[in-house]
Symmetry: C2
């Protein structure tokens, strides 16, 4: 079976590493000459709107999936004429737009921060008056890793901010006094079977994920599964979805979804019986899903900007290096480490060890 | 770091899957147009004696390693002029010739079946008179998976047998009434550090490995490590070596070595903290070695001739499929499954389940 992937970054790379042992081959459509998934499959170097290459991809593969949600709707629609596409155009349409996403949460009874659609500075001023400060203004589409958003704390922060974010459609979100950020990685098969990984505690810095720790019997696991299950079933979703929540007052408020494998699920490569990458491929290929149970206690630390010295990294017991083969650049995710230990105290000690390595 | 691999079969394929997350790239020299490692790196399609392509490989990579031991000595000598080669020419020279191998065992005080060098039918007749029957005649070089050998049970079996095996240099080995076959996978770094995986029980059928089960605190572990350590140190070996033993009268007799990653170590991908593939690459690259400790209880079942239906295979809990992407052909190793369970009784049950699947 040959899988087409729109995007050829580290997620595509890890999909190929997981799918090759299932007998799958891969083709990546990515305009970047140095797409880091390219060494693991065929690389169609073309823009995402290039219909000739999209058609070529569709003709070559058995199905198409995505590495990121900001794929143009036209691309998805075009591909869907010729080849099965998972997740569906509808799921991508909703996940790529914060307004659609938040509206879906509201419609399904899933708690989410107060929000308002912002199409002008006047909209913003009115919404701030209604929702209050602090609040966060985010572009409705194309934001990632803290890009395309601004925290508004005082009235002065609001002035001209719509123009500052590019005068594009935005969403204003009320600030949530959260005590923690967690994500739930879920997978749903073509037949509707759904499985959930354990909730993951995430720590961000400057909007970029730094640390994910897989939880052990989290008290909010069942609640999170209930919320995510509603979205998956509503969208008749196929594949892996990541769902980010704020922990607030002992409950959960939905932040956002990613209709794809997700950074906060990278620990599953070593830390779960079947990784998010293999389970995404099983789902889209119509295969039975794999076990989402943990193997030991796991955490993931991102390498941002550069990968620490390889010899020093692999010298740490229980540490599994994932080097993305990308050029090092400030603020860029270029690799991660998974730690898998027998117990939580050992895991905490190892996290400190890798953090010290990163700090240099 | 770019690694050159002589041979582009499933061992090269699994080396690339293990090395890519370490940030390594791969080039495979293999004359086969459909070499199954090719999708995971550069494929130099050329004969092993093709000096132009060997030189190209040497120029492109940081070091060269091998997927099989039958590499022509001239190939190794030629490459060694331009690029580091691991394991060394000397280790390959010994491992590729059963006479050199058995002589090394004897010199190092490692018990091994009685043997005699056979260069003619007269040699064979004399050796049979001395060693007795039953015995096994094997070509000194190029044998694998039971090919290039014949079991001699009666005097009639001996007649013309030297010609039958091609009138090439052979070794006669006395038959050993073994109670089991075990292998020890070892890895030795450039600095001499050595680690051993748990002993593996192997079951063969028609000379082809069918089942490997990683043992739990095997009583002969220390003895096997002592024997294998002698060989590794004597050869100043770098990389993974597999050492096959017969279990005889509660002790061990050395059968043969493979100077490479080995089929009986495939279970380590899921079943050990660091797989034989990653450890081989760590060793040859001069990186610290990884832990050889088990993760749960593991076994490996080979898929010979064909891979069972993928959906039915991955539907088995605790079963990890490794499809080599090769054309199916009678007697050919085309994939394997690793089973990783919490305890031995569960493992036994799962082995039966996969065996039933294979039996179809």
């Amino acid at each position: 079976m040959k899988i087409g992937v729109i995007g050829g970054g580290q997620l595509g790379r890890m999909l190929a590493l997981a799918g090759t042992p299932l007998g799958m081959n891969f083709a990546f459509l990515d305009p970047a000459p140095d797409a880091c998934a390219a060494p693991l499959g065929e690389h169609l170097r073309a823009d995402y709107g290039d219909q000739d290459h999209l058609r070529q991809l569709a003709d070559e593969v058995d199905l198409v999936t995505f590495e990121f949600e900001s794929v143009p709707a036209e691309t998805v629609a075009f591909l869907s004429q010729f080849v099965p596409v998972y997740p569906s155009a509808d799921a991508l349409r909703i996940a790529r737009d914060r307004l659609f996403e938040k509206s879906l949460f509201r419609d399904l009874g899933i708690p989410t921060p107060a929000f308002a659609d912002i199409l002008s500075q006047a909209d913003l001023d009115a919404a701030v008056a209604s929702i209050g400060l602090p609040a966060v203004l985010k572009t409705r589409t194309l934001g990632y890793d803290g890009k395309g958003q601004k925290v508004l704390r005082t009235a002065a922060d609001v002035v001209d901010t719509f123009a500052e974010l590019g005068s594009v459609p935005c969403l204003l979100e009320g600030f949530v006094p959260f005590t923690g950020e967690v994500s739930l990685i879920a997978v749903r098969g073509r037949d509707g079977e759904t499985r959930f990984y354990p909730l993951v505690h995430n720590t961000h810095d400057s909007g970029i994920l730094r640390l994910s720790v897989a939880s052990d019997a989290h008290p909010l696991q069942a609640l999170a599964e209930d919320y995510v299950g509603r979205v998956l079933d509503k969208l008749d979703y196929v594949g892996v979805m990541a769902f980010e929540f704020f922990e607030v007052d002992g409950g959960l408020k939905a932040n956002e979804i990613a209709p794809r494998v997700h950074n906060s699920g990278h620990w599953t490569i070593e830390g779960a019986e079947c990784s998010q990458f293999e389970n995404h491929l099983r789902a889209v290929a119509g295969l039975p899903l794999g076990s989402t149970a943990k193997v030991g206690e796991s955490a993931m630390l991102n390498f941002i900007g550069e990968v620490p010295d390889v010899a020093r990294t692999v010298a740490i017991d229980d540490c599994h290096l994932h080097h993305y083969g990308k050029a090092f650049k400030v603020g860029r995710k270029v690799g991660h480490a998974t730690l898998r230990c027998h117990d939580m105290p050992s895991l905490r000690a190892k996290i400190a060890e890798v953090e010290a390595l990163i700090a240099g």
